[in-house]
Amino acid sequence: MSNEMNNPHQEITHPQAVAIPVPTGHETQVAEGHGIHHHEPFITKYIFSQDHKMISKQFLITGIIWATIGGFFSVLFRLQLGFPNDHFMWLHTIFGNWAPNGQFTPEAYYGLVTMHGTIMLFFVLTAGMSGTFANLLIPLQLGARDMASPFMNMLSYWIFFIASVVMFSSLFVSTGPFSGGWTAYPPLSALKDASPGSGTGGDLWLIAVLLFFISQIFAGINYISTILNMRTKGMSMSRMPLTIWGLLVTAILGLLSFPVVITGLVLLFFDKHLGTSFYLNSIYISGHALPNVGGSPILYQHLFWFMGHPEVYIVILPAMGIASEVIAINCRKPIFGYRGMVTAFFAICILAFLVWAHHMFVTGMNPYLGAFFVLLTLLIAVPSAIKVFNWIGTMWKGNIHLSVPCLFVIGFVSAFISGGLTGIWMANSAIDLDIHDTYFIIAHFHLVMGVASILGMCAGVYHWYPKMFGRKMNNTLGYIHFWITLVGAYLIFWPMHYEGLAGMPRRYYDYAAWHTFAPFEGVNTFISVVAIVVFIAQILFLFNFFYSIFKGRKETDPNPWKANTLEWTTPIHPGHGNWIGEIPEVYRWPYDYSKNGIDFIPQNVPLGPEEEIEVAKENQPQPV
């Protein structure tokens, strides 16, 4: 589409795939060229920027801020779980009513847990993850000057930003933030009087999450249309780096699943404010029967988990893409089984829509129906295993450089395996009936999704930092950050498997009333202490990240990792438009490492004479 364009001042035409025409703005705003970049006013350069690289940084920094808040909240509620009998007066000083005598109230505790889940899953690992890497990498790795619709791209960030503001403000309402869990099951979430957090806090939660989904739908439409329409010459789909494949499938999953949960949330809103009873049936609140009859809370669960399961893959697929790319570069080997990887992405995409009810085995569903979901859930382990096999296959006999991003990717693979294996247990409904809603679930999804994709995201940040900021992060701090995080994560989540198998339920405020769980008191304290240490280690990362933006060692090599993909053919500080002069043309796939004794051959290097012969041989039936 815009690939032959060599005049960066020209407006980037958007393909017809973009949604409803955007009224103003887009036509009038002309993309600035690189040479005159510093003339651009502050507002359009840093704030209402339409440059995909700036939007990517905005998503990343917003995500980091949210991760800090969400992580801090987990430390706070771990204080309650680890030290149920202690009073910390400083909590009262900071949090006032939330912790009247130095201990969080049950309401505040549930608020913290709910906010932790919502923030981490939606704001950090969905918006932060896809927002950062899709915006940065799609145009740069495919050879496009910007996204299909830079305006819609900017819009998606700002809608997300408003969602953030709304969510943040809910922390300050007097009745507290929403406290019904990140899944917001009715009736708790549908009745204002069900709990303090279900009042104003619940409304703000609902608005923020709806805005968030809308922003991600906009973003996703943009990602898909850019990938399909704006690849440079020679960049056929089968030559795309796996990062892009991951992001493509992520966007497809989001586009098809977010509207469904929007439906669910709209109905929830009606139940709450307009007197309908979609999810409500014969409920008693403080001795009085409510007039609402006829609804079913299970319907909400279906609508929610129809998004909920794809969502967990939305969180992990970008990390899988990053892992594939980083691992090939750091092992100086072509990725093992490129086609298998792509097929696995699509298998995951399809299966992800067919397994949602594995979150609902205990809702009294027909066991025969359950059996189908057991089967499909077990099936999804197959493409996941293919990917793991291929990463390990890539490392096998590779010339591994244990750089910081590479370590994070190895950590990612490890956590993904550890958490994925327990998924296979829970997929069997007979086992799941026993361990559902226990700490076993917490251990499963934190390892497979939480830890794995945070590690993948860190790998991505360390790897593409030089591209984003033109400077380097400090390596030593990176190594320390990695080891504390990885070891800490295992120390935190591994013991939870035992707690869960012993039946310890999740989402409880205090376990003192149960004898069975008394032996876990020490374990709980231990987990909380490690959680605090790991949180402190993240401050190293924060320092490293923000300090290096201004004071990090300047990057002098445009291709510091000796990588093949196109983003490293741009200048160290690319302007809006990315390439000075023409966009490079692509002649090969991105994984020609150690080919014919050459360390690496970037994608824009034409085939050598020997290679031409090879290709001709491969394509014998239809010669090129």
Partner: protein, 170 residues
Amino acid sequence: MWLAIAGICMFFAAFTSAYIVMESHSSWQDFKLPDMFWFSTAIIIISSFTMHLSVKSFKEHQMMRYKTLITVTALLGLLFLIGQGLGFSNMYSRGITIQWNLSAALIYIIVSAHMLHVLGGVIALFIIFARAYRRHTRTYDPVPVEVVATYWHFVDGLWIYLYIFFLLIK
């Protein structure tokens, strides 16, 4: 555009599956849909025709006819919205409010969600209409018009699907 349409399809698919689920519940009460809906159905089908004709005249560079047809389409769209509104007031006057029964609530919600999408289409029509006037240099790039037309036919088809669905499921 096709991507947006896929998203919207999922949105309404979720609604209709909610409808099917709720419908099986014992407290579900059916009621007669307002006759007005037949009228608006006819209107929106006609508007798809005029939309089609306007794209055709655009491609034949008959700008005057194009402008007229696009105006007619937009007006028919507005008429459709009014028709739906009248249908609602008819339901309301029969005491079928949103709280009356889930059946009514779902009809209200699904129909108004669809109306919002039609409204979006009307706004898009006005935008390309304004463009046709603003442009001094004539451009005959049919892409924006075609995109709007695709969307228009889609919301039309969506309504037909929804209406048949409501009628059949009774």
